[in-house]
């Protein structure tokens, strides 16, 4: 079975109580579609992924827009706006 790896960082990781997971993926989907899938889990997931809180996504360690496509084998990451430096 084909999968993607999803990572959660910082406030998101703490809020979801999860730093990452494997998810089965049969066909490519957009970042936005993945966020809708995650929001559908309800509770904290809905709060974090309903699009109201500022969120950034990376696919294979590159920042992407929500329309970008995700393919099997990809590493997808979600995190709040960055605050280093």
């Amino acid at each position: 079975m084909q999968t993607i790896r999803i990572l959660y960082f910082a406030r998101l990781r703490e809020s979801l109580g999860l730093s990452g997971e494997e998810m089965p993926l049969d066909q490519a989907l957009s970042v936005q579609a993945l966020m809708a899938l995650l929001a559908a889990r309800g509770g904290q997931w809905q709060q974090e992924f309903d699009g109201c809180r500022p969120l950034r996504a990376a696919v294979n360690q590159t920042l992407v827009a929500n329309g970008s496509m995700i393919h099997a084998g990809d590493e997808v990451a979600f995190f709040p706006p960055v605050t280093g430096g």
Partner: protein
């Protein structure tokens, strides 16, 4: 162009000396150090924890430094960013840019900091008397980055 993400502190003076002596045609070295302030938004900060995204963070910093090297005529750039737990007055970040002339070294150094602040995956959590909190991103940092789109 070299980037390092590390728990350990760094020796700014030693890194600057190394950069400026690496090439005898280097005339200018611009540098920046960021450190933990004891106060943020009115609250005393006891400890700051810096989280990063292993792999992507290093890649993002490398890309930013290389983009600076494409935009300006510089000799080299070094970025060191610390992760983990840091106390007030501890150093967080060091950026050094060497070049023949000061204008380009200054611009590249400030460019790297502005992009690091908005594009490199680091997140700060502060411990204050009223508990833990994640530091919010600042609109002023986006603005600082967006200046470079015009030039």
């Amino acid at each position: 162009m070299e980037v390092r993400v590390q728990h350990e502190d760094f020796d700014a003076g030693a890194e600057i000396a190394r950069m400026r002596l690496a090439r005898r045609d280097t005339g200018a070295v611009a540098c920046f150090i960021g450190q933990v302030r004891d106060l943020n938004e009115g609250d005393e900060v006891a400890l700051m924890t810096l989280e990063h995204y292993p792999g992507m963070t290093e890649k993002a910093l490398q890309n930013i430094a290389e983009e600076a090297g494409r935009r300006w005529d510089i000799h080299d750039a070094l970025v060191i960013h610390r992760i983990g737990e840091l106390k007030p007055a501890e150093q967080i970040v060091l950026v050094i840019v060497s070049g023949a002339h000061r204008g380009e070294a200054f611009a590249a150094c400030e460019f790297i900091m502005d992009y690091l602040k908005t594009e490199a995956p680091f997140w700060k959590k502060e411990q204050t008397a009223s508990g833990e909190r994640w530091v919010d991103a600042k609109a002023s940092d986006d603005k600082a980055r967006d200046r470079w789109h015009q030039s």
